[in-house]
Symmetry: C2
């Protein structure tokens, strides 16, 4: 207990009690847990994450993949990791096609002249010269499109009006977003000229449309797709309710132009044993172009950068055994390009990746700790969950998603965790012009960082039993 | 009491009790009060106002003075008054200069490239060809501009950052709006090249800028003026906080082009004695171009149209003695052109205008009943206040404003009333793209209409003691 007492010097008595309680778990090293608790509580008091996202949204603002701001964001991330005292900072190339938004105009020609606030869907083709003027066929949801006939749809603009359900876990997104992701090709298959959808968002009274990617099925013609703001979708539905034909004129200047190479920005805080094994965390550096990408995903970048900085500030002897690797991922929005490039480049290094988890669900408080780890690691994860508990975090399930950018590595065999945020308000602002710094609560961001630093520290210390990397490490120990 | 019993047939017993209580006031005719109470309660149950504003915002949408939609709105109002069964419908011309918004672009050149969401201020001149690129001088409020020096301001873009205070009675507006209305000329007097302000609105986290008129002082050069959304103002302030020079490039395509003649649309429900005397109510038909003008002022048009329709539906014998006149005012937003034209055209008819009041403060519930009437009319107004009380409306003061569009007639000597709405949320959406139908609560709108119909009915019945028109009327009675 000598070293524990030394480490506990800066801690208050009450804290020492909770640490002792946690240290009772035979699975966690007592000294190291005390450090994790210190880091957790330091982060919760003032994690340093907020100034990072303030800086990113102020200096760079929107940073869509392939834009000039994408390059500036990469420079920013490299410089910022260095300033924060990370031991190693490097970049790895990520190449993708560049999509330009261009102009976006939708207006009702008949029966009542009216302009709509719209956003082209990411990856959409543009309209032909002169735009598209066609009657609207209205469908309540994607299911209705699946059962629509060519007679209903041919030559028309398909409108899909489904409203997204609000939920703490964001569960309404999957149900609703299929209209955006798959609607264009399904409509094209029936001869439609364009797709308009009610924005995939939970703001029922906003004038800000929500962008986001669509996917084309190569079997069908590419038709343009755009989202109406919820308020404009209401207006369209009021018009349609009269039963008269509604004709819309649509102009989208969207286009693809060549390829661009951005960078995953990667930084490490070397572990005290420098084993070559890493805990992989991060957020994605790119954002959509409409807002300043504060909650999607400046918050994730800031939370994970700040968590790493707290560990970087520790004396080498107090660091965890293994290394913490933080990635500011490139172009997640347009197809998880950064995560997939990393998965490809590092596919033979699964054993060196102890666990991965990404912060990419806004800036709400974390309320649940999920994992996807080998059975043998569950007792350790349950013990770690006790350290997260004082943050208001409950232990969840072992079917964690991990995050889009670590999915390729997860599929390669890397264990993942999920520090699940409260996403109740996330889809009010997601992919809109309203994704700005003011949506972030500073203390919530600190709570996030507290969870990230504690979890990252303890897994970097103890590894993930049952995972090849950890087994190997244990063998070396034996 | 015979006629009262007959009139009360459709009323529930509990209502009859309250009517009896009110009828105890010797100042109000019992039979007529019973009708007013019936109208009030009918309106509260379903006033018909909501479908009117739904229709206006759907069929016409934004209807800025001088646009094609202004003309369509006039046609709409004429047709709608007729459909509602008003006895007389006519228009009176209102001529004003036409202001075009044009393009609006503001971007930070240094230190961090960034685009801002802005709205040109109504009446602003445009920027010269090539725009204006200049360093920003930041001032906390209009007072600071008054004490600024030419040295600070000359050749620069003045930014005024004051934040508007939220208040039920909208009291924060006057304090804040002077930056918008007077800032440009004060800045020009010190040699500034343009004015940027933080939007005059209570939304602290919105990306929608608030437009609204500025006024030029003829003594100074006209410089362009625009409002930043609150979120963009925050970004600018974060940049300024670093202490480095911030340079902005501003392009405004705003311009004036000739004159346009719109119309006040006027409709009457003739009183049973057709005395030629009127109670004057209304809302303004025009709106800003950014939203669909639902709360400013589709709501006011709908509330007053629906109130009149409830009276129009009465058999002639149950109508009030005098006439109800409802006006859908032309171009209030750009300088109260409709109200002023009416004041000029009808300045010799003050004696025929018993009272006037306008609904132009959104769609929140009415919570106070103010008046500005001769002393002799106060007991009557207090008695009428008892009829409004069940709607949750308290009796206010005798210094009512009446509304912008009745101000000219008020200055001519017409008494006014004020059915004061809860404006707590009004300035979140005021003059923005977010002023759309979804901001209106149907039951609140019904409560408004209930107050309008009851007050209008009772004053149209009893007149305003002490006002020339009413005195004269009483003389004829004697």
């Amino acid at each position: 207990m000598k070293s524990l007492s030394r480490l506990l010097l800066p801690l208050a008595a009450s804290l020492a009690v909770s640490v002792t309680a946690i240290a009772a778990s035979p699975l966690l090293d007592a000294d190291r847990t005390a450090i994790a608790v210190q880091l957790r509580d330091k982060a919760q008091a003032d994690s340093g994450a907020y100034p990072i996202v303030e800086d990113l949204t102020t200096r760079i603002g929107p940073r869509m993949g392939g834009t000039a701001a994408d390059a500036r964001a990469v420079e920013w991330a490299v410089a910022r990791f260095r300033e924060l005292g990370y031991d190693k900072v490097w970049t790895e190339p990520v190449t993708f096609p560049v999509w330009d938004r261009g102009i976006e105009v939708a207006r009702v020609v008949e029966p009542y002249p009216h302009s709509f606030a719209i956003a082209a869907l990411g990856g959409s083709v543009g309209t032909p010269e002169g735009g598209i003027t066609a009657e609207v066929v209205s469908l309540p949801d994607y299911q209705a499109l699946l059962s629509a006939t060519a007679e209903q749809v041919e030559g028309r603009i398909v409108y899909i009006g489904n409203r997204m359900r609000r939920a703490k876990d964001g569960g309404g997104y999957g149900e609703a977003v299929i209209a955006r992701s798959r609607g264009a090709s399904k409509a094209a298959a029936l001869g439609a000229r364009a797709l308009l959808i009610r924005s995939i968002g939970t703001d029922v009274n906003s004038r800000t449309p929500h962008t986001g990617m669509l996917s084309y099925d190569i079997a069908f013609r590419k038709i343009p797709g755009a989202a109406l703001s919820n308020a404009d979708a209401n207006v369209l539905e009021h018009m349609l309710a009269e039963g008269k034909p509604v004709t819309i004129e649509l102009h989208l200047g969207a286009s693809e132009r060549g390829e661009y190479t951005s960078q995953n920005v990667i930084a490490e805080v070397t572990g005290r044993e420098d084993t070559g094994k890493v805990v992989l965390i991060g957020g994605h550096l790119d954002s959509w172009d409409l807002g300043t990408g504060a909650i999607d995903d400046g918050a994730g970048v800031a939370i994970t950068m700040a968590a790493g900085k707290l560990i970087a500030d520790l004396p080498r002897g107090q660091r965890p055994r293994h290394t913490l690797r933080v990635v500011a991922w490139a172009n997640e929005e347009q197809g998880v390009w950064g995560g997939n490039a990393y998965g490809e480049a590092h596919k033979d290094e699964v054993a060196d990746h102890l666990i991965g988890f990404e912060s990419d669900f806004g800036a709400g408080r974390i309320w649940r700790f999920d994992t996807r780890v080998p059975e043998a690691a569950l007792p350790l994860m349950d013990a770690i969950a006790e350290v997260l508990k004082p943050l208001g975090i409950e232990r969840g399930n072992n079917t964690a998603f991990g995050g889009a950018d670590v999915s390729a590595m997860r599929q390669n065999g890397m264990p993942v965790a999920g520090l699940v945020q409260d996403g109740s308000k996330y889809f009010d602002y997601h992919h809109t012009a309203a994704d700005t710094l003011d949506k972030i609560d500073r203390s919530d961001l600190d709570q996030n960082t507290a969870a990230y630093v504690a979890l990252a520290y303890l897994v970097a210390e103890h590894g993930v039993p049952g995972h090849p990397g950890s087994t190997q490490a244990q063998k070396q120990d034996d």
